[in-house]
């Protein structure tokens, strides 16, 4: 078997574009997922039964469906939902890339919700009491006292989840979005260089994810020392 390295170097600019999209998808989904996940966590911990159950239902649903299916569903559903909202005659063209971002935010929100919920519950009740005793209201107590502590405590877990998300984004391949894997696959099929391309992509993922995991481990020890 001859291993043709030139196919990789020649296609680097195209791969880089795919990689940029992968990064973009990861960062936006993590940020959006964290934002909505935190809101979901607050809903799950709220004393209002309806809110609690709606959030729990959403989280359990998302966590019980394979990600590939969620991606498929949203690919078909997002245009229809947008059509319903805007009242347009035809479903608007959203594009695979943008659909993927919406999908991943919605999906990751469920996972980030559970992480933030654990984080919030790890803060002693006395912190809420002392905030209330000072006259802070619920939203100030959460925003200024509880969530910053919960976020700090959960940072290693949140980062680990983001690393998993970084790998999971490759599934957008199924809706033909050109992420890092998608870009590699297109070239691999065009030039029949499957081995080279997939090996290269796997290597990049491995190096990045493994070194990031090590960094998270170090961070975890550092946080443990501070606490």
């Amino acid at each position: 078997m001859n291993f043709d390295i030139s196919i990789i170097t020649n296609s680097l600019p195209y791969l880089w574009k795919g990689f940029q999209y992968t990064l973009e998808l990861t960062v936006i989904s993590a940020a959006g997922g964290l934002f909505f996940g935190t809101l979901l966590a607050l809903a799950r911990l709220s004393s209002i039964k309806g809110l609690q159950m709606t959030a729990a239902g959403y989280v359990n649903l998302m966590r019980s469906i394979p990600l590939v299916l969620v991606i498929f569903w949203f690919f078909f559903l997002v245009p229809l939902i947008l059509q319903a909202i805007t009242g347009a005659e035809r479903p608007p063209q959203v594009g695979a890339e943008r659909t993927a971002i919406i999908t991943f935010i919605m999906f990751e929100a469920a996972y980030f919700c559970e992480i933030m919920r654990a984080g919030i519950q790890s803060i002693p009740r006395g912190q809420i009491h002392s905030s209330y005793a000072l006259g802070l209201n619920y939203s100030q107590t959460m925003r200024l006292v509880i969530l910053p502590q919960a976020f700090r405590n959960m940072l290693p877990v949140l980062l680990t989840q983001t690393i998993i998300l970084f790998q999971d984004t490759s599934l957008v391949y199924v809706i033909s979005a050109t992420d890092f894997v998608g870009a590699a696959a297109k070239i691999a099929q065009r030039d029949s260089k499957l081995v080279e391309m997939y090996l290269f992509v796997a290597l990049v993922y491995f190096i990045l994810c493994f070194s990031l995991s090590l960094a998270v481990k170090q961070l975890q020890q550092k946080i443990a020392v501070i606490r």
């Binding site: 002693p124 006395g126 009491h129 000072l134 006259g135 802070l136």
Partner: protein, 244 residues
């Protein structure tokens, strides 16, 4: 008009009654010590004053405002009552000065400069000014509790509640906290203190409330309480904690 008035307050956890028909009051400038065996409901009673614990029956009136009333603006009422907790409950992700500034800025709407000035003055008063830029985790228990008292005072409270402020402290740190509390009492602050420190009670309390199994068993002036407690339960309690 009393500063804090309890009118037949009862509270249940499920079917278990933690407070039974508690009636008492704290006058302006009065120092009231609440004592009793653990599980007698004294912490619960004091937490009802600023509605950290809800109660099902009766009424608590603070400075003319009913705590349980739905129309009462709770955050506003709470901001006028300082509270000090057993485990300090400083905010660990903020420095000492930030701990004191937070509610002044966010609740009272003071500017950062004005708040900082007030905070620094109070930190000086409790002997903690040199620690202003530190985080709570870098302080001893006694130091944290003094900061917590200063944090409560920064809101210019009309009364201060103390929930076992020295129970979590190492013995050698108890006095530095009690000293601050004694000074506060001498300045005329209205105080309600759940504590086992009978020395503190003898020194500054005007009245002592003794609780057992959710009931207020004794509600007497300091001299009456330490001289001739009427109830057997109070006598027993006193003989147990004073024999050493």
């Amino acid at each position: 008009m009393p500063m804090i008035e309890f009118k037949s307050v009862s509270k249940w956890y499920g079917s278990f009654q933690v407070l039974k028909d508690c009636t008492t009051k704290v006058e302006k400038g009065e120092v009231v010590v609440v004592c009793g065996p653990s599980g007698s409901g004294k912490s619960t009673l004091i937490k009802c004053v600023n509605a950290l614990e809800p109660f099902q029956q009766g009424e608590i009136v603070v400075n003319g405002q009913s705590v349980g009333d739905k129309a009462t603006n709770l955050p506003q009422l709470r901001s006028k009552i300082g509270m000090v907790f057993q485990h300090f409950e400083l905010f660990p992700h903020m420095t000492v000065i930030e701990n004191l500034n937070l509610a002044q800025v966010k609740v009272l709407g003071r500017g950062t400069e004005e708040a900082t000035e007030k905070s620094r003055m109070l930190l000086k008063r409790v002997g903690m000014i040199d620690h202003a830029p530190k985080f709570p985790g870098q302080l001893s228990g006694g130091q944290q509790q003094r900061v917590a008292i200063a944090r409560g005072l920064a809101m210019d409270p009309i009364a201060m509640l103390f929930d076992e402020p020295t129970s979590a402290l190492d013995p050698e740190m108890i006095n530095e906290v009690l000293d601050v509390m004694v000074e506060l009492a001498h300045e005329g602050m209205t105080m309600m203190c759940v504590t086992h420190e009978m020395g503190f009670a003898r020194k500054v309390a005007h009245r002592v409330i003794f609780m057992d199994r959710g009931e207020i068993v004794e509600d007497a002036t300091k001299d009456e309480f330490f001289g001739t407690p009427r109830s057997e339960r109070a006598q027993l309690f006193l003989s147990k904690i004073l024999q050493h």
